[in-house]
């Protein structure tokens, strides 16, 4: 029966059946097949269908069903049940965290993953490829595909997906032993970074230490050319610094210094001078907190040298300032002023107005504490002028206050001298000052000192 109908379809079909040449077939089953009782209605769509491309079941499904369902079915019919369950789990987790966050939160406003065809297709593509590789036992390809997924989701709202796939990829990389652990090292570096982003310092530390061991004596590098070894060292340096910061906040200086020393060692190993310098600076500052000025100066000088080598004026200034602090607490005032002068010099020669202003203020304070009021006044004036040029109100106000008090100090001695001697001329000067409220002492006294 089907054969006869296909034959009929292949023949040229007229609008009305040919009267001269009656077709036996159509007459024969015209009564048995209820459909063929309506020749017009039956034949016309057939004719149309042969001209137009037919619509397959898949295309109908694509049109009728949601993107999510189509993606799932597409994966399942290929037998990719792990991909399906992974995708469902990921979506389920997103929904859970959305519910937990409640309406009004950021995640509540975001669009669900199953409404974004682009992301779904990417997920489908790489997940199925990873699963195919897993079936074949090629864990390196599994890892590669999962890494692709992790790198694909770089938008801030998709960070959690990226994190998830980095973690999954670590598990796959651990099962791949052919390369001596390079992929594992790479994966742990990624996951450790994820932990750092999430603020889970302890887990990050574990992973970085593991990575440090793995990369011992190896020259592995990532795709971008970054050496895994140095990444491990840098990461550890960061982790130790963070841990030390926590200790410093609770005033546990001894363990903090120990931790910072470790960080310094790691920074040294990482081979990045800048990081090494900063680590040294932190150690120095920590020693200052305990009062061990010798050690502090040693580390600060190290930092200074590195800054000199790197031509980092900012860093040099920072170093000078810190060293001054050490010298001051040791009581070496002359040296500390020298140091501050260097600070000012460096800042000036590099055009760092802000640092220069800071240096002037520090110098002014140092001079006041040693009783050199006039010098203090000039420093403060400088500082005031720079602040005015910078247009920073807070700095300006500070400078004004300092300058004012320094001037007052410098004046009060001369004023009291006049009051003490109380000769006629002194009294006249005092009256003149009272009347005009102008600085009359400086001129006269300066002429006196000059004479």
């Amino acid at each position: 029966m089907s054969g006869s109908s296909s034959v009929a379809r292949r023949q040229e079909v007229n609008f009305l059946p040919d009267i001269n040449k009656p077709q036996k077939h159509s007459l024969a089953h015209g009564w048995t097949n209820p459909r063929s009782r309506l020749p017009k209605g039956n034949e016309l769509p057939q004719q149309g269908r042969s001209q137009r491309p037919t619509i397959s079941k898949d295309e109908i499904a694509m049109f009728r069903n949601s993107v999510w369902k189509n993606t799932c079915v597409e994966m399942l019919r290929g037998g990719f049940h792990r991909s399906f369950s992974e995708l469902s789990a990921v979506l389920g987790r997103w929904k859970e965290s959305r519910l937990a966050a409640g309406p009004g939160s950021v995640i509540w406003q975001q669009e669900s993953l199953d409404k974004q065809p682009n992301k779904l297709h990417t997920l489908q593509h790489y997940l199925t490829r990873a699963e195919a590789a897993q079936r074949a036992g090629a864990w390196d390809q599994v890892y590669d595909n999962q890494l692709c997924l992790a790198q694909f989701f770089s938008e801030p709202e998709d960070r959690w997906l990226s994190h998830h796939f980095y973690q999954v990829s670590l598990a796959s990389a651990q099962r791949f032993k052919m390369d001596g652990g390079q992929k594992e090292a790479e994966a742990s570096a990624n996951v450790a970074q994820v932990y750092m982003e999430q603020g889970q310092v302890d887990q990050a530390r574990e992973l970085y230490e593991c990575l440090h061991q793995l990369t011992a004596g190896r020259l592995w590098s990532k795709v971008g050319g970054i050496s895994l070894r140095s990444e491990a060292c840098e990461g550890l340096c960061k982790v130790y610094t963070l841990l030390a910061d926590g200790l410093l906040q609770t005033n546990d200086y001894k363990p903090a210094i120990k931790m910072l020393n470790k960080a310094f060692q790691m920074a040294k190993e990482a081979g990045d001078r800048r990081i090494e310098g900063e680590a040294a600076y932190r150690v120095g500052v920590a020693y200052q907190c305990v009062g061990d000025q010798e050690m502090a100066k040693r580390f600060l000088n190290m930092y200074m040298e590195i800054c000199l080598a790197l031509k980092d004026a900012e860093g040099q200034g920072k170093a000078y300032k810190a060293i001054t602090k050490s010298l001051e607490s040791e009581g070496k005032q002359a040296e500390s002023v020298q140091c501050l002068e260097k600070y000012a010099e460096v800042s000036q020669s590099n055009g760092q107005q802000r640092n220069l202003q800071d240096a002037c203020m520090c110098l002014g304070v140092a001079c006041t504490s040693r009783g050199h009021d006039n010098r203090a006044c000039t420093y403060f004036e400088q500082g005031y002028e720079i602040a005015r040029d910078l247009g920073e109100v807070s700095l300006l106000q500070k400078a004004q206050v300092y300058l004012g008090s320094a001037r007052a100090y410098s004046m009060i001695r001369k004023y009291s001298r006049h009051v003490e001697t109380a000769s006629h001329s002194d009294l006249q000067i005092l009256i003149a000052w009272k009347a005009r409220r102008e600085d009359v002492f400086t001129d006269t006294t300066s002429s006196v000192t000059h004479t």
Partner: protein, 371 residues
């Protein structure tokens, strides 16, 4: 055999002949199964008619024995009630009885299907379908379960054209009702998949099984034994296609799901609540047994045997039979699992197997405790 003969003679004694020409005008008495003019009548209810004794017998065995008396109030015409309230009451009662009948016949059909008695399940599912049509109309969603039962029986019997017809009906009904539940969709697609697999249209079968898994996952969750059934059927299709790696991956999934399910069941069972039928009904038991055995056979026939998988499956079977109450089989499979587990590097399963064996041995010695 004797009992069979006895029941046969008993069945034959239940019919009386009927002359169609002697029927009152307009009243057509049609055969319960084939709807042809009837010549026999059931003497117990007097409301059911048959064209020959063969159909009467099939109906008796299939469903009539259980519903004979229930049919009387539904099919006898009652006198006209003078009060509207009485009429309403009568209508409501009939409706309720018919709904009960639908449910009973559906359950009976389902049970015989799980036992593999396809022919026997046909009368019951037909009755269910007819009642549902009376109550809900010819195009209602409630007809779909009956259609699916009929289709499944027909696939089992190998009459695929018939099965296709029923499934097309079901599919059409479902398509028209977008609010249709996931359970029905999942069952529909599972049966469509079976049909396509039987017709050797493997790609089509895979598409339907994929839909089946999707819907059952929406309904029951991912790690569920119902969803697992879909995976198993899918794996069979992949085996037919010769894609053994995919099939194996699916079989592993099925095995581990059943294993974890049975382990939790065993835990709840040993912790005191001993209601077995509530834990796992007969149908599920039969399904699990069939699937796990099939997987064990596949493992044994495949060139590279996965011992871990075999341990998992035979342990599952041991648990299944322990829960099902047949301790000999449980011990058999347990021993097998224990032997195999020695070959596997991962020994985590050895301990639960031994515990199970001990439990089974204890039960075996004190059978009174078990019952």
């Amino acid at each position: 055999m004797n009992s069979m003969k006895g029941s046969k003679s008993k069945v034959l004694s239940l019919i009386s002949t009927l002359n169609p020409l002697a029927n009152p005008r307009g009243a057509k008495k049609l055969c319960e199964l084939c709807e042809k003019p009837s010549y026999l009548q059931c003497t117990k209810c007097r409301v059911t008619f048959y064209c020959d004794s063969e159909h009467q017998q099939a109906d008796w065995v299939g469903i009539h024995e259980k519903v004979c008396q229930l049919l009387i109030p539904i099919r006898t015409t009652v006198d006209f009630h003078s009060l509207q309230a009485d009429r309403d009451n009568h209508c409501a009662q009939t409706l309720q009885r018919q709904e009960e009948l639908i449910e009973i016949s559906r359950a009976v059909a389902q049970k015989s299907l799980f036992e593999g008695k396809y022919q026997q399940s046909l009368p019951a599912s037909q009755l269910s379908l007819r009642c549902a049509m009376n109550v809900y109309g010819p195009r209602a969603l409630q007809l779909v379960p009956a259609y699916l039962l009929l289709a499944e029986a027909n696939i089992g019997l190998g009459s695929l054209a018939q099965a296709e017809e029923y499934l097309s009906q079901a599919e059409w009904t479902v398509m028209k009702m977008p609010e249709c539940s996931h359970t029905i969709r999942h069952q529909l697609h599972r049966n469509l998949g079976r049909l396509y697999a039987a017709k050797d249209n493997l790609e089509g079968a895979l598409l339907h099984f994929a839909n089946d898994v999707y819907y059952s996952c929406e309904e029951h969750g991912l790690e569920n034994i119902v969803t697992c059934g879909g995976y198993f059927l899918m794996a069979n299709v992949f085996t037919k296609q010769g894609k053994m790696d995919i099939a194996n991956s699916l079989y592993t999934e099925v095995a581990s799901t059943w294993h974890s399910h049975l382990t939790t069941l065993l835990d709840t069972h040993t912790q005191g609540s001993r209601m077995l039928p509530q834990l796992l009904d007969e149908a599920q038991q039969a399904e699990a047994d069939q699937m796990l055995r099939a997987m064990l056979e596949i493992q044994e026939s495949s060139p590279k045997q996965d011992a871990a998988q075999k341990v998992l499956v035979s342990h599952s079977l041991a648990m299944l039979w322990f829960l099902g109450g047949s301790l000999d089989k449980a011990l058999d499979f347990g021993r097998q699992a224990l032997q195999l587990s020695q070959l596997v590097p991962d020994h985590s399963l050895a301990e639960p197997i031994q515990i199970l064996m001990q439990l089974a041995a204890e039960r075996d010695q004190h059978p009174t405790n078990a019952s």
